[in-house]
């Protein structure tokens, strides 16, 4: 993004929302998003929903490595 961030319109905020939530916006655009979300109820609600969904998706990432995998890896590191 090379354009100077100005006061964001809702369509811009929606377009940039996932970049914002993923931490991929530069400082100035991030601040512009913060300002918009602090003043726009609709976009704030959308951001909160997408943030909540991201969190639920992240929670599905849990898994437990089996004892046999632990043993297999220990053997690899010992034998290497």
């Amino acid at each position: 993004m090379t354009d100077e961030p100005k006061e964001l319109r809702c369509e811009d905020a929606i377009r940039l929302l996932f970049d914002f939530l993923d931490g991929e916006l530069d400082h100035d655009h991030g601040e512009a998003m913060d300002d918009h979300l602090n003043t726009c109820r609709a976009c704030y609600s959308r951001a909160e929903f997408e943030k909540g969904l991201k969190e639920r998706i992240k929670q599905t990432g849990g898994a437990t490595a089996s004892d046999s995998l632990h043993d297999r890896i220990k053997k690899i590191t010992n034998d290497y």
């Binding site: 929903f49 995998l69 890896i73």
Partner: protein, 198 residues
Amino acid sequence: MDKREYFAANIGAHLDRLFGAAMRLTRNRADAEDLVAETVTHGLSKIDALREPEKMLGWLLRMMTNLYISEKRKAREKHAHESYREEADSDEPAFSLFERLHQPFLLWWGNPEQEFLNKLLGEDIEAALNELPEQFRVAVMLTEIEGLSYQEIADSLNVPVGTVRSRLARGRSLLQKLLWRQASERGLVEADEGSGDD
């Protein structure tokens, strides 16, 4: 403690994360364990390239993704006559759960979006993730679950950052469409003309 000793001493603590990521990629327990073992072996062979040992988990996750994608690419080249599930039609409009659920007139009396999230089961999300075409599933998984940056994902997949953004956008849209369809089938939401089946 040299890098290899550090690696051997700390790899056990990262196995759950590595195995979880491998399960997301392969969707199969035995293949996931093989992928973890292959990643560890490869990591040991490249240990001198690990600049910051305390960041070995991220380094190994990127390596694992690269190994997985390389294997898939070789398998596709071997079976070139088989159809490969290409990215979904790029003309398909983006699907948004929020736009399906949000009812601004409710104001303080209800929050259908939050209710939807509350009713969403982990197994619903896992099932929807597993249904995604591979390119989208990998991008969504690496961002949402592993927390890699767009650049890190681009480096792992050997594609431009723009391609990562595109796959994420389409992957998220399709994931939300699949979650909507599941919710409709369970009667949690009313399927309408925007049922997500179009």
